[in-house]
Subunit: 308 residues, 2 copies
């Protein structure tokens, strides 16, 4: 039996890393031999979470075929967000909470998706269904993932199940959910020392929409102006990425995690589509979107709709 | 809230109908308002099962949009096997045991797939997870679905879980699993009074493979010769269907459910691909495949491989 790698999406966030660690541990307890790995190095928020609970960052891999491994995906399914050779390896299972698109297999597999705020919430349910107990440090990284994905339950993607799961995990991890949660979110908003290219890459995903290749990056902050003051520099970096990677449209979503609002910065030919999607007008390529914090629920479906 | 339709694939078999009835009942017990429907009339095996447990055949529907309905899919996911306007409606959930292909959504959804022999085995698990009890007649149609999909546990797709599930359901339904199971399978093999076109349509699915459109039909029998004696008539009907529906390749799998073997009858341009897939030689467009009974596990992946 070949090796099994468990990983989340490219440009990993705390759920991509946390759910991989948690799901791999569960599979190992159930008798499989798996390794949690990552498709990139952890961002500062994730690093803070890993260090808080004494966990090491997973090894970064670039090919599954090179390791002769079958794979288990968490927190994503779209091939363009996965490992480069995903179409050539055996996918044994997927645990996810996103739309399904650009995904296919030749064989039946285990697929578990639920429309909740975080993959780790589903993984917790699977621990219970299999009556496997959760070690303290793994509970810690799982609750970090839930806090990260739901912005401490303020995101419209957050469900009662996510909140209940996080509370349960906080007890196992022995932390105060709100105090730890806000501290962790803030650790991810130290942006001033980062280059524009780094900001665009912190949490970015590509989506095929109609005939177009759309890149949507998100940056969390506690001060929108701190990011938007760098508009010229950001637009130059966006233009460069678009040329290099053949993106047709680049949407940067800058989210204020304290006020739960976002500002868009848009580059590309289809600006009127963006205006239609959000029923707004772009001024100087920017638009303020009140109450928008979730790419998955408040950005991707709206853009998909106008491009379909 | 709009109406919710629950249905299995086109050319419904006993699992497509049975899992729809069982999953719809579960969802209703959990507070949703759903209706189990079907994308075609039940075949004779399914009719036998429905009558055995006093159930009516689900209403046949052709459009979900016309009824302003959201949908829940069971026993399939590939759009070409689903309702004609599947791409235009909201898919709330999928419960399935097949490969995933040609499936996508704009929004997150509930997706539950497991590599077991029958969708109804997964649905039974969901009844238990939600602590909902199963009425006798629904247990009956679920166990019929498991017997049908696993050919009374002889198919390589059958797992221990399927067998255990069927035994459990047989107790609730108060039938002798083996006696009832064989009787039901035999009810589906009365072929002599059917036209060639009807035989080809009994349990047929289309699969995009590479650039090709492949049609794979399966017929269960207790006597291969009874079917193969009608080769000329079958080939004429296959040729006609290929022209009408633009199939590039038509593979008819005639399966002896007592001996657990199959004979292929092949029409189309890519006969050498079929020979490569099954490491055999076609004689007079036919090949005997020892031990082959499962389209999903022993036919589709092998053909997918040679066309990729």
């Amino acid at each position: 039996m070949s090796k099994i790698l468990v990983f989340g999406h490219q440009n990993p966030d705390t759920d991509a890393i946390g759910a991989a660690i948690a799901f791999s541990h569960l599979q190992n307890e159930l008798g499989k031999q798996t390794e949690a790995v990552a498709l990139g190095t952890p961002n500062e928020e994730t690093q803070f979470a890993l260090e808080s609970f004494g966990l090491a960052a997973p090894r970064v891999v670039e090919s599954a075929k090179a390791e002769d491994a079958a794979v288990m995906l968490v927190d994503h399914n779209e091939f363009q967000q996965s490992i480069s050779d995903i179409a050539e390896v055996t996918i044994l299972s997927v645990v996810d909470h996103h739309r399904i698109a650009n995904f296919e297999t030749a064989n039946p597999l285990y697929y578990r998706a639920e429309p909740v705020g975080c993959t780790s919430t589903i993984v917790l349910k699977m621990y219970k269904e299999n009556q496997v107990s959760i070690p303290k440090e793994i509970a810690g990284i799982m609750l970090s993932a839930i806090v990260s994905d739901t912005l401490l339950f303020k995101s419209p993607t957050s469900t009662q199940e996510d909140e209940k799961a996080a509370q349960e995990l906080a007890e196992i991890a022995e932390v105060d959910l709100n105090v730890y949660g806000l501290e962790m979110l803030k650790a991810g908003t130290k942006l001033s020392d980062k280059s524009a290219a780094t900001l665009l890459d912190l949490d970015a995903k590509s989506f095929p929409m109609g005939e177009k290749n759309v890149r949507i990056a998100q940056v969390n902050t506690v001060d929108l102006n701190e990011v938007m003051d760098r508009q010229t520099e950001l637009e130059a970096a966006m233009a460069e990425e678009m040329t290099t990677n053949d993106y047709d449209l680049f949407v940067l979503v800058v989210t204020n995690i304290l006020d739960s609002d976002s500002e868009l910065l848009v580059a590309g030919d289809d600006k009127e589509k963006v205006e239609a999607a959000f029923q707004t007008k772009l001024t100087n390529n920017r638009a303020f979107l009140k109450g928008v914090v979730s790419r998955k629920k408040q950005v991707v479906p709206q853009l998909t709709e106008v491009f379909s």
